[in-house]
């Protein structure tokens, strides 16, 4: 088990390292000159431009620049934003909480409502199954920005239950502000996970070992808990992990649509203004969050189903 976790952590660090290279390389190749951006669009003398290029190490070879950036990131020196003229760490720190709350909120909705409705659809009889299937089909078909518009129209404009715009202050107010974005962000994923859960629970219900447990006279509730849900948990969790990890990237749309000040909206704004320093760090952060969530899911899955550990050792 310790070896397994060790291998997972090593793989995670390797993935982030490769991602950092790709991210830096892609933005290095992107068109546009950071130096003229730094000049703020003013006509600058070649000497002033050269001074800026020297200050930001823009004339160094690619690998040297990459190494300087990476070692800076590793030691906590994220650099300054080209547009805001502020340390990237400040920009991100101010917005991180909103994004983490939004992702956590959406994750809870996905896991609670998605998994719950999937189980109900699988064991709750035909009417429940049909209701859940119809709902999830609609939700899966609607992209997040469409869901956002519909939600704003119904709950913010017509009913005035939730604010249309902004992030709020204080915990309760933030949650209130984040409800609609979280729903919009999670709807499609939630429906997807509901479908997966339903299929997995159905498959377990019909499996031989469940028939055998019934033949042994095990109570229905115990069969559902110990043999059906327990066995369906591993695949459902694997899909949930990827889904939740993917939410970090999905925050861009939800935050933009609802005017939430978070990492996703910062990423979109910075990319639009070619603020490469910010884009690099946020992109790396999103990758790291994705990989971290995936690793945690892998470890929990190995605890749930130790066959995975052995498959690794043999193979």
């Amino acid at each position: 088990m310790i070896g397994f976790v060790g291998r997972k952590v090593a793989a995670m660090l390797g993935t982030v390292l490769v991602a950092s290279f790709v991210i830096y390389g892609a933005l290095y190749l992107a068109p546009g000159d950071p130096a003229s951006l730094l000049a703020g669009g003013h006509e600058m003398s070649p000497a002033a431009l050269a001074a800026i290029r020297a200050q930001y190490h823009l004339d160094d070879p690619f690998l040297v620049q990459y190494w300087q950036w990476l070692s800076g990131v590793l030691t906590g020196h994220l650099g300054d934003s080209l547009v805001f003229r502020e340390p990237v760490a400040h920009l991100i720190g101010a917005r991180l909480l909103n994004t983490v709350l939004l992702v956590a909120y959406a994750s809870l909705l996905i896991l609670g409502v998605g998994v719950g409705s999937g189980i109900v659809a699988a064991v709750g009889g035909r009417i429940a199954d049909t209701a859940v299937t119809v709902t999830t089909t609609v939700l899966m078909a609607a992209p997040a920005f469409v869901a956002a518009i519909v939600l704003i129209w119904i709950f913010a404009t017509k009913l005035s239950w939730f604010p249309v715009y902004g992030s709020g202050t204080g915990f309760g107010d933030r949650i209130h502000h984040l409800t609609l974005p979280a729903v919009a962000l999670s709807a499609g994923y939630l429906a997807y996970l509901s479908r997966i859960t339903r299929a997995e629970v159905r498959a377990e219900l019909g499996s031989d070992h469940v028939v055998a447990a019934r033949a042994r006279g095990v109570r229905r509730a115990a069969i559902l808990r110990r043999h059906v849900l327990r066995n369906a948990a591993a695949p459902v969790l694997a899909v949930s992990g990827i889904t939740v990890a993917g939410l970090f990237a999905g925050t861009a749309i939800a935050e933009q649509a609802f005017g939430v000040s978070g990492l996703g909206s910062l990423l979109v704004q910075s990319a639009a203004r070619q603020d490469l320093v910010v884009v690099q760090v946020i992109a790396l952060l999103l990758v790291a969050a994705f990989v971290l969530v995936n690793m945690l899911v892998d470890v929990v899955n190995a605890i749930l189903d130790p066959r995975l550990l052995r498959a690794r050792e043999v193979g």
Partner: protein
């Protein structure tokens, strides 16, 4: 006198696109307490379904006519709690493939003690009981086995665990549905020997389903031959070869590997196996019978004197 286990004109219809069709046509069989009966016949003849009907484990949408009575109680009249009590205390089932029977993510100890714990036994007492049975049937290193999971055990060992789980509930009847088919040949004999020995010691009745006539005659007191959802002949295991009267039983006996000298081509039962759905309306074996007569195709022969055949009426 009420029989221990009795199939009384048991008919089971399952839904098909053409409407309900019978998989079991008319099963008549009585098993005494402590008796071992072998149920043999080709695939699709309804052997497994016959055994499962004792536990009320029929496929969805199946309808039942006639009755299965266990100690005088019609299984069909039991409610969910009664059925659960029957399954956990009176009748145990050993399935074909132990790999599929045991939940792959739980430990052997969990599997063996699950039903005992539901009865209110403490965890340690249940583990001690289960461990004792495992040791009795020749499983070594019991404490470690109880902590292992199914994928860590061989098929033969896992089937012993399944048999131990069946014995742990101290049932009066064990239904063994081809318990060795999924095992390799060398472990088959060991597993059957364990089942045979344990049930004799405990006086447990056994319904033993098998394709293997030799195996069934070695373990059982009587053999019931099944074809297309009907029992066509019942006879003592000892005199199976000498006293077989039904043409199907005779054909099965000729088709055994031991019935021809080594090197010669094995005999087969002519035609293809039929299920209760496909069999003809009169005698179920009429389509494949070498001595079929006009009467056979129209009239269902009754199971009288141990055989259901028009040509054997005294």
């Amino acid at each position: 006198m009420t029989a221990f286990l009795e199939f009384d004109h048991l008919r089971v219809d399952v839904p098909t696109p053409m409407g309900p069709r019978p998989v079991l046509r008319s099963v008549n069989l009585a098993i005494a307490a402590g008796e071992a009966v072998g149920l043999v016949g080709e695939s699709g003849s309804g052997k497994s379904l016959t055994a499962r009907s004792v536990l009320g484990l029929l496929p969805g949408g199946a309808t039942i006519a006639g009755a299965v009575r266990f100690r005088g109680t019609d299984i069909g009249t039991l409610d969910a709690a009664g059925l659960r009590r029957l399954r956990s205390r009176e009748v145990a089932m050993v399935f074909q493939d132990p790999r599929a029977t045991v939940n792959p993510v739980r430990t052997i100890g969990d599997f063996l003690t699950e039903v005992l714990r539901e009865r209110g036994m403490s965890r340690s007492a249940a583990l001690a009981l289960a461990g004792g049975i495992l040791a009795d049937i020749g499983v070594d290193d019991v404490p470690r086995r109880l902590k292992q999971r199914p994928y860590e055990l061989s098929g033969g060992l896992l089937q012993r665990v399944v048999i131990a789980a069946a014995l742990a509930g101290e049932p009066a009847l064990i239904l063994a549905d081809e318990p060795t088919t999924a095992l390799d040949v060398t472990t088959q004999e060991e597993v059957v020997a364990i089942l045979d020995e344990q049930r004799r010691q405990r006086g447990t009745a056994l319904l033993f389903i098998s394709h293997d006539l030799e195996l069934a005659t070695a373990v059982c007191d009587r053999i019931a031959v099944m074809y297309a959802g009907e029992i066509v002949e019942i006879l003592p295991a000892k005199s199976l070869h000498e006293e077989a009267r039904h043409p199907y039983t005779k054909a099965l006996l000729r088709a055994r590997p031991g019935s021809v000298p080594p090197g010669e081509r094995l005999q087969i039962v002519p035609g293809t196996p039929q299920s209760g759905i496909e069999a003809p309306p009169g005698c179920v074996f009429a389509d494949r019978c070498p001595v079929v007569e006009a009467d056979c195709r129209t009239t269902v022969p009754l199971l009288v004197g141990g055989v259901a055949c028009h040509l054997e009426v005294p």
